[in-house]
């Protein structure tokens, strides 16, 4: 079943994954990096200059994912390209059968390793959602017609953890109004903030139309949590959580259990359609987490992927 069908039917909880940032080594090397997600996740995000670093492009990664048998979600950020280039990317990806598009404002250039770059932000996240929705209706922003209209499934991101806390649900609703039909939330280490965000979007009626997927991050150490707290814009990790992982006899296991607990908490909240997994462990934890959550695993697809990886 496609990601769109799952979002619309809510037949079961959805799990989306994220392609690791990839630079070089060819398609075979890329296939190996994503092999552990075969048969485990419903779709995979192709990121767009994550953390403001240059990597293989979102469109190229999305096409590669599709060739490997995954359903890609094309992430598009506003930091690096103007409205002409953003529309070209979305329409170009649609040419290759990539329909799911996740629109983000994006980290600033100062978050990356080329802080001297020009920042663009010709559009912002909510405007990009509206422009992508317009493309899905068969029109460029200029009004020029696309015939036939690409069958885009447009989504966005919202940060339930960042200030102003009372306003984040309203901002999500703005994206809903602009045409977003799924929301992959940014990583949130504050269970109370996630719960009140979900409560607010429920009350606004957003979750009737929009599939909301909180992000769960898989890391191996307290150091990784501390790094996110200090270096990743919009993410704060309460010291108690860092301490608990640090003091544990088996820190990697404690970090896994933390993610599992966060995923269970998120999935139990009203209106949550699934979870998005960002994996920095690369040790099979995505499959383990999916299994621990009772997610259907396609064993045949997993084995097939394994054979394919061995064959290359």
């Amino acid at each position: 079943m496609s990601f769109r069908d799952l979002c619309e039917s809510r037949e079961r909880p959805i799990i989306t994954g994220e392609a690791p940032a990839f630079d070089a080594g060819g398609l075979d090397a890329f296939a190996e990096r994503v092999a552990e997600m075969h048969g485990v996740v419903d779709a995979i995000n192709a990121t767009d200059g994550p953390a403001a670093h240059a990597h293989a492009s979102n469109v190229a990664i999305a096409i590669a994912l599709r060739q490997l048998g995954f359903e890609p979600i094309l992430q598009v950020v506003c930091r690096d390209k103007n409205r002409i280039a953003l529309q070209s990317d979305i329409v170009g990806a649609a040419l290759h059968g990539i329909d799911a598009v996740c629109c983000l404002t994006g980290d600033d250039v100062t978050a990356g390793d080329e802080p001297e770059a020009r920042r663009v932000f010709d559009l912002d996240g909510p405007q990009l959602v509206a422009v992508a929705s317009g493309l899905a209706q068969g029109r460029y922003l200029s009004g020029r017609v696309l015939e036939p209209a690409p069958p885009l499934f447009v989504g966005a991101v919202e940060n339930p953890a960042a200030p102003p806390h009372g306003h984040r649900a309203e901002r999500a609703a703005k994206k809903w109004g602009a045409g977003a039909r799924f929301l992959q939330l940014q990583i949130c280490f504050h269970a109370d903030r996630l719960a009140s965000f979900m409560n607010e979007v429920e009350q606004l009626g957003l979750t009737r139309e929009v599939a909301v997927l909180p992000t769960i991050v898989l890391v191996r150490s307290a150091g990784a949590l501390r790094f996110m707290d200090r270096q990743v814009p919009g993410i704060s990790v309460p010291p108690a959580i860092v301490d608990a992982v640090e003091r544990a006899a088996d820190s990697p296991e404690a970090a896994y259990q933390l993610a599992l607990e966060q995923a269970r908490h998120a999935l139990a909240l009203p209106g949550v359609a699934g979870v998005h997994l960002t994996d920095f462990r690369h040790d099979g934890s995505v499959a383990r987490l999916a299994a621990d959550l009772g997610h259907p695993i396609d064993k045949e697809s997993m084995q097939h992927a394994h054979r394919a990886t061995l064959a290359v």
Binding site: T105, D122, G125, Q127, N159
Partner: protein, 123 residues
């Protein structure tokens, strides 16, 4: 240079740090200029706001949109201005940079959006 633009900048520059985008939305954003956001977002705040409410790009400044959101609730604004905070503002028309937004408001030039934007809004 248009004399109205000179007067506009002389007033709005010191008070609002106005950047003369030529399509002013101050009244919709709690009298807080969105062009002072380092990302120049018209529909902020972005997801990068720090836990203490400061800006992702420049930690020495309060997030422009955190201020805008608070002021849109607390300043004595017209009720419709208050509600407009939640509206989806269209992409900037970059051709209007440096022009007087007062003149563009009177002529309606600042409300002209690309056809695709207008048609989407009309459904």
């Amino acid at each position: 240079v248009n004399p109205v633009g000179v007067i506009e900048h002389a007033i709005k520059g010191p008070v609002f740090d106005c950047r003369m985008c030529g399509q002013c939305v101050l009244h919709d954003t709690g009298m807080t200029c969105p062009m002072t956001c380092p990302k120049t977002l018209r529909n902020g705040p972005c997801g990068g706001v720090r836990d203490d409410g400061t800006c992702e790009v420049d930690a020495s400044m309060k997030c422009v949109w955190v201020k805008a959101e608070r002021r849109s609730r607390t300043l004595p604004l017209l009720p419709s201005w208050r509600e407009h905070f939640h509206a989806l503002r269209p992409p900037l028309d970059n051709r209007l940079q440096g022009e007087s937004s007062w003149i563009n408001a009177v002529t309606g030039r600042d409300r002209i959006t690309p056809d695709g934007w207008r048609l989407r809004e009309e459904g």
